[in-house]
């Protein structure tokens, strides 16, 4: 469904080098890696906000970079990292923005736009504050409104940059559960960047480990989230065992100051 091949990108120094991977329909790819690994840059290239120096991003065999912007927008829903909004748009107005690429350039929303926005708000459980300004919403509410905007066009691919940053643990797990349900509802795949390794292990169908712009591993979570790989990539001591509930990899951090670490499990 999504095929990324041979992506190179640099600002003053290389940010991404020779990155290639593929995901299929209905997959949830989680991208993990240290700060500055190039995760956000990768997402922006996939969405079409940045153009790669070489390489291509194909969605259903069509190149994102050479597509008209409005067409790409209909296929991909994107939630940026920590958006700052200073104008008091209502949640409804904000979610309806997700229909931009389906609308004529001037005029007002059609019944279909309103129906789709309502559906997106119901799925994300945001309909309850449809009339509130987004500037007054809590972090978790705003994050869900942003997700609603991204799915209002019924995209093929959902791209989320740190959707659980700044959320408490209950909102974190609900957010990813929601993403997983959205994927199972429709004809969609998702790419999620997160620093929450245990959530990544729990929800990913595929995990991609990135360090300094290079792909260190890509595959099933239990092949990627291994003690060796994670210790190499994050340069910190940690322990990986299996979750007693799901069997997914479970990551426990070990403070560097702790001598003689004990593995009494």
């Amino acid at each position: 469904m999504l095929k990324v091949s041979g992506i190179h990108f640099s600002y003053s120094q290389p940010v991404l080098s020779d990155l290639s991977f593929e995901i299929g329909n209905g997959e949830l790819l989680v991208v993990i890696g240290p700060n500055g690994a190039g995760k956000s840059t990768l997402l922006k290239i996939i969405v079409g906000i940045l153009s790669p120096e070489s390489g291509s991003v194909l969605l259903d065999d069509r190149n994102i970079a050479s597509m008209p912007r409005r067409e790409a927008a209909r296929l991909i829903g994107y939630v940026a990292q920590g958006s700052s909004i200073r104008f008091p748009l209502t949640a409804t107005e904000f979610v309806l923005q997700g229909r931009f690429a389906q609308q004529r350039l001037i005029g007002f929303e059609s019944d279909e736009d309103v129906t789709e926005a309502t559906r997106a708000m119901e799925l994300t459980d945001t309909i309850g504050f449809a009339d509130r300004p987004v500037t007054e919403l809590s972090g978790g509410e705003r994050q869900r409104v942003m997700l609603a905007r991204a799915i209002a066009s019924r995209p093929r691919l959902l791209v989320l940059d740190e959707p659980v940053a700044n959320l408490d643990i209950s909102h974190q797990i609900r957010m990813l559960d929601l993403v997983r349900n959205l994927i199972s509802e429709g004809n969609m795949s998702a790419i999620v960047v997160t620093h929450e390794l245990n959530l990544a292990a729990e929800f990913a169908t595929t995990a991609l480990l990135l360090k300094a712009g290079e792909m260190m591993a890509c595959g099933a979570p239990n092949e990627v989230l291994t003690e060796d790989l994670l210790q190499t990539v994050f340069e910190t001591e940690l322990l990986v065992d299996a979750s007693p509930i799901s069997g997914a990899p479970r990551v426990t951090l070990v403070p560097p100051s702790r001598p003689n670490r004990e593995r009494g499990i």
Binding site: R69, Y78, S83, R86, F87, L89, T92, Q97, F100, T118
Partner: protein, 351 residues
């Protein structure tokens, strides 16, 4: 989930929480009526009182081309002095307000305004240069003001660029600095100008709507064209307000929209400054008031600002020319008296 099961929610979301065409029509009609009422009052009041009947006779006569049954003095006062000034106030107020709304959306900052960004002063520098060097060309002044406005917003935009793209606060700061710099150029040029010329330039500069009635038609065309172009991009501006990269992802051709709207906003600022001098803060106060009442959708904010801005400047100008009659206050004084406190209020609220 099947949305046809929830008609109440659909109906709720469809009307209450967003701007609809019907709401827009009602809002614009009310504002247009306000402008008309204010225009009638503004035309009637002044040192020479003219009755409403005489005013309508003069207007009808003007349209039909026949002569009106009024005194020649009244004919001149209404047709050649007050009416052009009333129309000028509406056009200039509308232009500055729409330019303000456009800059605010582009910069994602409710504090942006053609005056604060230095664009008005940049346009003034252009206008003064053309007055000094090419006074005989009638289009020269608006054209030079437009060029001054475009150069200024380009410079402010370049200065405001951070290492990782633009930062809205930096841009405002860059505007304030540029404004200060350009103001000193204005003062330099005024100091260098000869005595009689100095008086007329100075009087225009600090805000005067009576100076250039012969440019009314031209400026109206410029302003209308600019407002239409900005309005065509209203929906794209809504998306830009919430973030540039997000707007790209949602399907906006951001580069094209930004260049188009920056040019259009500079065009109408230049046109307004060319005939009225530097009138600050209108572009700040009006879009803010509209957003307070009607929300942030630019499909409402832009046309409503055009009418409300016209109304405010018309009211301010009428006060300015009657409050200490027979002398006149400069309208720039009144707009700054209202706008300064509003700016401080907004600054405290947004930071």
């Amino acid at each position: 989930m099947n949305v046809t099961d929830t008609p109440n929610a659909v109906r709720h979301i469809a009307s209450a929480n967003r701007v609809t065409l019907a709401q827009l029509v009602v809002a614009l009609t009310l504002l247009a009526l306000l402008v008309i009422v204010l225009a009638v009052i503004a035309t009637a009041v002044g040192s020479e009182h003219v009755s409403l009947a005489s005013i309508s006779k003069i207007i009808i006569a003007g349209i039909t081309g026949r002569s009106a049954d009024v005194t020649p003095e009244q004919q001149i006062i209404i047709a050649e002095i007050r009416l052009p000034r009333v129309l000028m106030a509406v056009v200039v107020g509308g232009a500055l307000s729409v330019a303000g709304a456009a800059y605010q959306a582009l910069l994602r900052n409710p504090l942006a305004d053609p005056y604060i960004l230095g664009v008005s002063t940049g346009a003034a520098v252009g206008a003064i240069v053309s007055t000094v060097f090419a006074e005989s060309i009638p289009v020269g002044r608006p054209l030079a003001a437009f060029i001054g406005a475009v150069l200024t917003i380009t410079a402010v935009y370049a200065l405001g660029q951070g290492r990782r793209g633009e930062a809205s606060e930096r841009l405002i700061l860059a505007g304030v600095i540029t404004n200060t710099f350009l103001s000193s150029i204005v003062i330099f040029m005024l100091t260098a100008a000869s005595g009689s010329r100095l008086r007329s330039i100075f009087s225009w500069l600090i805000g005067d709507l009576s100076g250039e009635p012969r440019l009314l038609g031209l400026v109206t065309v410029f302003v209308m064209a600019g407002i239409v172009v900005i309005y065509m991009n209203a929906r794209a501006l809504n998306l830009l307000m919430t973030g540039e990269e997000e707007a790209v992802a949602l399907g906006v051709e951001v580069r094209r929209v930004k260049i188009t709207v920056y040019l259009a906003a500079s065009l109408i600022t230049g046109a307004a400054v060319a005939v009225s001098g530097v009138i600050g803060f209108v572009g700040l106060v009006i879009p803010h008031a509209i957003r307070l009442v009607g929300g942030s959708d630019n499909r409402l904010v832009i046309p409503a600002s055009a009418l409300a801005g016209g109304a405010l400047l018309l009211a301010a100008d009428t006060v300015a020319r009657t409050i200490i009659a027979p002398r006149e206050l400069h309208i720039g004084v009144i707009s700054a008296l209202i706008g300064g406190p509003v700016f401080i209020y907004l600054l405290r609220r947004t930071s």
